[in-house]
C-alpha cells in the first residue's frame, strides 16, 4: 500500500509540475515600437523612450563567436563600461562561429528568447528582419536625449557628428544595406577584407611584379606555371566572394533589393568571367579551397611537394599565410597587396567581419542599455585598438590609427612573423574600396548558389562549356527564386 501511495504521489507531482511549467512560461513580447511602415522610402523607426536610460538595473546578453583571446579583451573592457553604467550587467557567450550565432538566434527568436546584442552579417540581419526582431538604429543615432553616467558627466544618447565622421565610411554604410530607404540596422564592430598574399621572395627571385588587374594576373599565372610546372600559381579561398567581387568590379548585376526580382546575376558579363576563370582552372593556374580539397594556405606554406605562390584570402586569416620556419629562419617572405581589379583606378574589395545588431525586447530599458554598450564598443578608441591587435581585424573608426600603442603595433608589421599587422595596414589603406551587397530574405541563398556555380563551372571538363555555364546559371537562379519564395 505504501508503495502505491508513493507512486501516486510521484505521478501527481509530475503532472502538477508539468502544468505549472506550462502556465508560468513567459507571455512573449511584441515590444513597444512605433513603426511607420517600412515599404516606401521611409525609414523604419524605433521609439526611443523619452527618458533615455533611466539607470535601472538590466542584464544584457551578447552572442558572439569570439575565441578565448578576444573574450579576454572583451572582459577587460566591460568593467570600463561598468564604470560609466554600473547597473548594466553584460553577459556574453560564444556560439562557435558566425553560423552558430545565426542558428542559435534563429531558434531563440521563435520562442522570444533572443539575446539583446549579437554579432551579425547583413544576411543574418535580413533573416531576423523577417520576424521584425531587429531594432532600427536611426532614432538612437539621431537622439539628443541626454544621458548621465556614473561620473556625473552628461552626453547625448545618440552619436555626435564627429563620432559619425570618425567611422570608416565604407564600414558605416554596411548598416544601411537592407532597404531602399537606408534604414540603419547594424553598426560595424571590426572588419576584414580579402587581400592578395604573395611569396615576395619567389617574386623577387624571378623578377615578377605584383598584378594590379585580372589581365595581369592571367599573364602572371602563365609565367609562374612555366617556372614551376607542378605548382598552382593562385589559390582563391572563397568561390562566392570571388563571384560577388567580380560582379562589383565589372559593375554587372548581382542581386537587388527590388522585391520583384532579387536575383539578377544571370547575365553575359558574369557568364563571361566564369568562363574565363574556368579556363584558368583548367590550365592549372588557380584552385579554390573546395576544389583543392583542403585549405589553400596549406599550399602557400607547403615546404615540399606542390606549392602555390599567391593566395587571395581573408585578411583575418593572415597568420596562416606566414612563411614556415626551419631552425628559426623563415623559408621566404610573404607580402600583401590589394586584390586584382577590373579597373585599378576604382578598386572594389568586399567588406567582411562582424557587425552588431540589437534585438527588440519587452523592456525598452534593455534596448537602451544595449545601445549604450554597442555605442561603447564601436566608439571606444582603446577597445577598438586592443580588439584589432588581438584579432587581426581592422578597427572601424579612424581615430584608432592615431592611438600611439596601435601606431607602434602597426609599425612592427612585416611579412615574416607579423603578417597580422601587415594585413590590418592594408585593410586600412583601401578603405575607399569597400562594398557590400544588398541583404534581404534570400540573399544568403544567392551567396551559396553563386559559390556552388563557380565551383561547378571551374571543374567542368566537358566540351560544351557555354551550354554548361548557361545551365549552371539557370539552375542557380531557380534555386535562389525557390529559396526566396
Amino acid at each position: 500500500m505504501k508503495k502505491r501511495i508513493i507512486s501516486l504521489l510521484l505521478v501527481l507531482a509530475m503532472l502538477v509540475s508539468a502544468v505549472a511549467m506550462v502556465s508560468c512560461g513567459n507571455t512573449g513580447d511584441s515590444g513597444n515600437e512605433g513603426e511607420n511602415g517600412g515599404n516606401g522610402a521611409n525609414k523604419v523607426r524605433y521609439d526611443v523612450p523619452a527618458e533615455g536610460y533611466d539607470g535601472s538595473e538590466v542584464t544584457i546578453t551578447f552572442y558572439h563567436s569570439m575565441g578565448a583571446r578576444l573574450q579576454t579583451v572583451l572582459d577587460t573592457y566591460i568593467p570600463e563600461f561598468n564604470k560609466l553604467y554600473p547597473n548594466i550587467t553584460i553577459e556574453h557567450s560564444s556560439q562557435g562561429d558566425y553560423d552558430g550565432v545565426r542558428d542559435q538566434i534563429k531558434t531563440a527568436l521563435t520562442a522570444g528568447n533572443q539575446p539583446n546584442i549579437a554579432y551579425c552579417y547583413p544576411d543574418h540581419v535580413a533573416l531576423y528582419n523577417v520576424a521584425k526582431a531587429v531594432v532600427p538604429l536611426d532614432n538612437f543615432i539621431e537622439s539628443t536625449i541626454t544621458v548621465t553616467d556614473a561620473n556625473g558627466n552628461t552626453s547625448a544618447l545618440g552619436f555626435t557628428a564627429e563620432q559619425i565622421a570618425d567611422f570608416i565610411p565604407g564600414y558605416y554604410a554596411e548598416g544601411t544595406a537592407f532597404d531602399a530607404a537606408g534604414t540603419m540596422y547594424t553598426l560595424p564592430m571590426s572588419k576584414s577584407t580579402e587581400a592578395l598574399y604573395y611569396n615576395k621572395t619567389f617574386f623577387e627571385q624571378n623578377g615578377l611584379s605584383v598584378p594590379k588587374t585580372w589581365e595581369e594576373m592571367g599573364k602572371l599565372c602563365e609565367q609562374i606555371k612555366a617556372i614551376d610546372p607542378d605548382c598552382v600559381p593562385l589559390g582563391y579561398d572563397s568561390e562566392a566572394n570571388w563571384f560577388i567581387t567580380m560582379c562589383e568590379q565589372y559593375g554587372s548585376d548581382y542581386t537587388s533589393l527590388d522585391k520583384n526580382g532579387h536575383f539578377k546575376f544571370d547575365n553575359d558579363t558574369n557568364r563571361g568571367f566564369v568562363k574565363m576563370f574556368r579556363e584558368w582552372h583548367q590550365n592549372g593556374w588557380v584552385t579554390t579551397e573546395e576544389i583543392y580539397g583542403s585549405y589553400t594556405s596549406g599550399l602557400f606554406t607547403a615546404t615540399e611537394g606542390q606549392k602555390c605562390y599567391m593566395v587571395i584570402g581573408s585578411t583575418g586569416g593572415a597568420s596562416y599565410q606566414q612563411p614556415p620556419q626551419v631552425d628559426g629562419n623563415a623559408l621566404f617572405e610573404t607580402d600583401m597587396a590589394t586584390i586584382p581589379q577590373v579597373n585599378p583606378d576604382a578598386p572594389k574589395v568586399i567588406s567582411q567581419g562582424p557587425s552588431l545588431c540589437i534585438f527588440k525586447d519587452s523592456n525598452p530599458q534593455e534596448v537602451v542599455a544595449s545601445w549604450l554598450f554597442v555605442k561603447f564598443l564601436t566608439t571606444n578608441v582603446e577597445f577598438q585598438a586592443a580588439f584589432s591587435m588581438a584579432s587581426g581585424y581592422a578597427p572601424v573608426i579612424q581615430s584608432v590609427q592615431s592611438n600611439t600603442v596601435y601606431q607602434q603595433w602597426l609599425d612592427k608589421a612585416n611579412g615574416i612573423n607579423n603578417l597580422t599587422a601587415l594585413s590590418v595596414k592594408l585593410a586600412l589603406s583601401q578603405s575607399n574600396a569597400y562594398f557590400v551587397s544588398p541583404a534581404f530574405n534570400g540573399s544568403s541563398a544567392a551567396r551559396d548558389e553563386v559559390g556552388k556555380l563557380m565551383q561547378s563551372a571551374l571543374v567542368y571538363t566537358g566540351s560544351d562549356v557555354d551550354a554548361k555555364i548557361k545551365e549552371l546559371f539557370e539552375a542557380a537562379i531557380y534555386e535562389c527564386e525557390y529559396a526566396a519564395h
Binding site: A18, L109, D230, G293
Partner: protein, 314 residues
Amino acid sequence: MKNFLQKIKFDQWKAWIYLLPAVVLLLIFTVWPIFNTLRMAFWNGYGLFKELGGELTFEFGIKNFKWVVGYGGFITCLKNTMLLTVLTVPISTILALVIAVCLNAIKPFQRFLQTIFFLPYVTNSIAIGMVFEAMFNIVGFGTTMPSYGIINNILGVFGMDPVNWINAGSSYWANIAVLTVYIVWNALPFKILILLGGLQSVNKQYYDAAKIDSTPRLRVFTKITVPLLSPMIAYVVITGFIGGFKEYSSIVGIFGDDMQAVGGESLNTMVGYIYKQLGANHEGDASAAALILFAIIFVVTMINMYVSKKKTHY
C-alpha cells in the same frame, strides 16, 4: 457482481495513473509538435518568422504541398533517398545475415569477433563521418601532385587506378558508392546483433535434423535458416527502410552542408530537403514535406508488413 464492476472501474483509472507520466510527456513533446506540423503544413506560405513578424494571416490550403512537389530539386531528393534505400537495405541485410550465420557457425573467437562487429554501434557518428571522408579524400585532385586517401592507396596495391570518390568533379555513382559503403557500414552492427540474437534462439535440433538428412549447406541456409529467421529479417528490413528514408546525417558527414561533391550532382535527400527548408524559413514547406515523407514511409511500411506477413512463417 457490483463489486466486480467497481473493480473494473478502479482498474480503468489505475491504468491511466500508470500511463500518466508517459502520456503527459508525449502530449507535450510529441503530440503537440505533430499538430503544429499539420497547422504549418496546411497554412499557405507559412513561415515562422513571417508569423512572428505579424505579416501572416491564416489561410488554409495545400499551396505548400504544391510548392514542395513542384520544386525540381524535390524529385532529386526523392530519387536519391529511394536509391540509397534500395541499395543499402538489401546489401546490409544480406551482409549482416551472412556475417551472423558465419559468426554462429564458429566457436573460437566468436565472442571476440562479435564484439568487433558491434563496434560501429558505439561510435560517435560525427567522428566516423570525418574518418570516412579522410579515407576517400584526395587532396589536390586534378593537379599534378595529388595525395590520395587510404582507399585509393589500397586500390593502388591491387594495381588499380585511383578513383575520384568524393572530390571535385567526381561522378554521381562514385558518390553513391561511398555513401552506400558508409551507410551499410553504419547499419551492419544493429542488424548483425538482431539476426545473431535470432539465430542463437533457433532450436539447434533443426540443424541436426538437416544434417541427418544430408542437407547441403547452401540449402540449409536458404531452406531452414532464412525461413526460421524470417520474423527477424522482416523486422530488420522494415526498420532499415524507415531508417533509409530518413537518411541525412551520413551525407552531411561526408559531403558537408552542400550535400554534393564540388561540381557534382546533388545528393540531397528528403530529410535534407526538410532541413534546408527549415533553414530558409519555409516551415510550411518543411512541414508539408515531412507529411509527404511520413506518407511514403507509412505506405512502404505497410507494403513491407504485408509482404512479410506473407513471407514470414509461423
